[in-house]
Symmetry: C2
Subunit: 138 residues, 2 copies
DNA sequence: GTCAACAGTTCCAAATGTAAACTGTTTTGC
DNA sequence: GCAAAACAGTTTACATTTGGAACTGTTGAC
């Protein structure tokens, strides 16, 4: 995504980075399923290809949304962690989930999660962000 | 976008429809700039191609996000209007804009708009939704 | 020492997106 | 009443992105 920015509109700038089919699904898996490893992302229901996954993880790393580091306890394993900018995408996931829950035929169990998050307002979001900071700190 | 759904996750269902570079920019133009005509969307800074625009408008219409009708006062003109599902995308635009405003180098004047909307909580959103309902009703 | 786990990479085909020119009406300005 | 501009797209040729499958090279488990 080395494309020159097409405008300085905040919505456009967000979309230039996360406006695609896969990026927010990766973030979703980190936020709601606690995934941290390449192989885990590969196993999601939507079936991202390893090629696309590798490219997205690299871009997200370049743009400061997540960090990549070696697992000290396991030489082969790589750990991906959300940065503060990545954790800050939680409200986007919440509103996106709430919309899908209301206007598409979504799984009820999953819908409850984002619905509660969106309905809980700032307080619910901050609580979950705090938990994510703990989980993704080194 | 006649793709079979890959999962029933509400976030995935939202992304399958609006997770791309252009769709939310069209909605943004309708919501914040009051655009309603093909030629107006074409003139945005980001420069969508007429082919992509036509395809997206068709999909959004098929999926019930907007409606298409002839302008009674002007035989050539077509009017696109947001449905309730389309208006309901406002919180997504607000959080997306707030994120871009905080984490990218966004235009300050534009950033203020989404920032206030996101900071104003449910009340600010509902107020703007009410205005959109009036503007996009027949 | 063998086998599975791990994070990718490589290659090719298919799908999608872009730019630019073009269509066929209708309305506007004179 | 006629020419030019406005309107919503379509078409075509090309470039870029994506998807699927097979493959690499290393490390850890048994």
């Amino acid at each position: 995504m080395a494309t020159r920015e097409k405008s300085d509109c905040p919505i456009n700038l967000s979309l230039e980075l996360i406006g695609d089919r896969w990026t927010l699904l990766i973030i979703r898996d980190m936020v709601f399923a606690g995934k941290k490893h390449f192989r885990e992302f590969l196993q999601s229901d939507e079936g991202i290809s390893s090629r696309t996954l590798a490219e997205r993880l690299q871009t997200l790393q370049d743009e400061g949304i997540l960090t990549r580091s070696d697992d000290p306890t396991h030489g082969l394993r790589t750990v991906y962690r959300l940065t503060e900018a990545g954790i800050d995408l939680l409200p986007v996931l919440a509103t996106l989930g709430a919309w899908g829950s209301r206007h598409r035929k979504a799984d009820e169990r999953l819908a409850r999660i984002t619905d509660q998050l969106a309905a809980g307002g700032e307080a619910a979001l901050e609580k979950m962000k705090a938990a994510l900071r703990t989980e993704h700190s080194v």
